[in-house]
Symmetry: C2
Subunit: 430 residues, 2 copies
């Protein structure tokens, strides 16, 4: 009986989303921006009501014995609300990509052929804990002219319902269909299984959360998934790298923050500069408590080096270290003969997320860019730049480690597709 | 025992394709073009050897009682071979899209960010009967810098093996890996199931064949599929359509050829012009033996009309007519109040392949382009133009009725993806 209801609920959401998507695709930029600004305003006004809903989630989480960091993630603080409100306003200020026509060219037959950017239709977003994702997803749907079905974490259900209500009100205020953004109203896990298997209603699924969730969704989905799995990123210090630049980039890529997927997990150093470079970077890592998992050559240099600080943690790497995404104060280090070995190592062990070379050599830089098979390839810059905002995309719906449709940081264009537009003057096919 | 071998064979093909893909991605344009020209030459030289192989397929097909048209499709005539040889040469003459960098822009941090076009990796092509598809697929793989695993129809296995041998020789002659194009060596159906479920080796599947095949593959595939299902295309004759232009376009869209997916299957006519337009187009259709499945309004006009030729086949449409892809001398006809009803009808019944409006009205033309949710939307041109060559794509790997990755006619770019390229001068994240 319960299962039947979930199925019915999801079918209803799907049908309603499909109908709303058609109206959203026709909505003009001014209307969509009006809805975004209304949403920002309502988020600021609704503080007390949201606090009541949020409190329910927090109490339930505490009673269930969730860890303090997990409870923290659920909190809709005034700061969190202001951040998402500003996000809505920023989106409202961005140029609208819908209706853009590219590449219009006349063909030998006389017809002119180009492509028009249109919304993809309906996307499903599946996420865990943080309720602010509800607003991020809703605002992306509005700006991109899509409809969205949102499935948040069960632990945030009361906060999400309160936020979804604000979204409906903002849509209605702007004259847009309230079904353009719908929240799944049940915490039954069956709803996720349904959402990812309704190709007749849902065009793409965007999961946000732990690797387990994303793997499960990718495996079972009957529609495309824009997904991001591992971030095992590398910096390769080439023979001709500028010494100070290499230190700065490697340090930043590893230590500026340990948790992001674009932080470096592996350091490769050309043999010709390893003797000089490794002790210097090891001193920096030692001072910051970064553990170094080294291949024999790197370990030998570091253990022999005078600069080998007593507090440096030099450990012999094992095979699994080359594949690991530490997301912690740990880095794998390997001495390579040169560019060829660096590229081979990266293409074998990298998660194809982001990899960088530090070099002055133009030919090596070009080869690295062409031959490293990763979503982002960089010359003389920190891997930490790999994100939608740093790339100027304005908003980020996720980072894709796939090659199909979207690769790397995905902006609003990832929620659109291009249809062909043909302008004729009565041409027929001969 | 047999199943185990198929599985082993497919795994071997997958591993070899993956290794070859890496080398193909690095190959320069001149090398790839040399392979294409070598393939063209070998196709012309190998006539007698190919005839022997082809004869085996033809004899087997005749013995198995295949229909004459089915046997015909298997034939590798000198004309067929010359056509595919010329196709290879044309591809060799086209500009190379691999390595192209687009949108390079400096960001506030100082880094410059753009996107580089790279091969997608390995594609699997699954096709029926016609052995010339082996060469088309092989040449697309070579030009796009991908590796391919080809699974042809069992009835063409001997021809396909002989053609695949020529491809290997051409690859070797140019110094490219022979595993860049591999033919599945067994006719066991199990091989298809394996090919579409090896995401670790295969990046995308392109099926060519009947709807049943494509539906089965789409349902079971564990990797993306570039597919094309129905082509239920429409022409809408608007109030302000130029009369002669409308007649010419509707006639061409329906009757220039009945079998292509971009032929029109439905005609919508604005009520204000139906009395004049329908009898004239009916006279053309009557002369060509095109059956007309009409809604009550259209049927009334045609039956009352003086121009109603005795040989005109006016039939009352039933609900299923609006969705049907006839691929035959049949068209559905409906009188609509105007643009709104036309768009609503198309968005409900069209297969979202190609739909056209004939109009002089600029606002209606713009609305039709924006609001009709089809892969190709046209103003004042025949739906028959919807193909890769007419759109100037140079080559066509297929037509996609999906919205993800590629929509509409898909050229070589459909076998590529864009990776981010970041050029810095030592920038780090603050």
């Amino acid at each position: 009986m319960n299962a039947f209801n979930v199925s019915e609920h999801m079918q209803t959401l799907g049908l309603q989303a499909k109908a709303a998507a058609f109206l959203m695709a026709r909505a003009d930029a001014a209307t969509k921006n009006r809805a975004l600004k209304a949403l920002a305003r309502r988020l600021r006004e609704a503080g007390p009501a949201l606090a009541v809903a949020n409190q329910k989630d927090l109490e339930r989480a505490t009673a269930a014995g969730l860890s303090a960091p997990m409870v923290d993630r659920l909190k809709l603080t005034p700061k969190v609300l202001e951040t998402v409100a500003e996000g809505c306003e920023q989106l409202a200020g961005m140029a609208d990509v819908i209706g853009e026509i590219i590449g219009m060219k006349q063909q030998p037959s006389g017809i002119r052929v180009g492509q028009m950017r249109v919304p993809i239709g309906v996307f499903g977003m599946i996420y865990e804990s943080r309720p602010n994702v509800t607003i991020e997803a809703a605002s992306l749907a509005i700006k991109s002219g899509n409809a969205a079905i949102l499935r948040g974490g069960s632990e945030a259900i009361d906060s999400n319902k309160a936020l979804a209500l604000l979204v409906s009100e903002a849509l209605a205020e702007a004259g847009l269909p309230v079904d353009a953004v719908q929240l799944v109203q049940t915490t039954d896990r069956e709803a996720v299984g349904q959402l990812i298997a309704m190709p007749e209603f849902v065009d793409v699924i965007i999961p946000r959360g732990g690797k387990g969730l994303i793997e499960r969704i990718s495996r079972d989905a009957k529609v495309p998934v824009i997904k991001h799995l591992d971030g095992n990123c590398h910096v390769y210090v080439d023979d001709t790298a500028e010494f100070d630049m290499a230190l700065r980039i490697v340090d930043n890529a590893k230590t500026q923050k340990y948790s992001p997927c674009n932080a470096a997990e592996g350091l490769l150093v050309a043999a010709s500069v390893a003797d000089h470079f490794l002790p210097e970077i090891a001193a920096i890592f030692a001072a910051k408590g970064v553990e170094m998992r080294c291949d024999p050559a790197a370990a030998a240099i570091l253990r022999a080096s005078e600069a080998h600080h007593p507090q440096a943690k030099v450990i012999d790497a094992v095979e699994s270290d080359w594949s690991e995404e530490y997301l912690a104060a740990v880095i794998s280090i390997k001495v390579v003969a040169g560019l060829d070995e660096a590229i081979a190592h990266i293409n074998r062990y990298s998660s194809h997320h982001t990899d960088a070379i530090v070099t002055r050599d133009h030919i090596n830089a070009q080869r690295f860019l062409r031959e490293v098979d990763s979503a982002s390839v960089m010359v003389n810059a920190s891997t930490r730049f790999a994100d939608g905002f740093e790339y100027g995309l304005g908003a980020e719906i996720g980072i894709s480690t796939d090659k199909f449709h979207a690769r790397g940081p995905v902006g609003i264009e990832g929620l659109t597709s291009l249809k062909y537009v043909v302008l004729g003057q009565g041409e027929v096919r001969g």
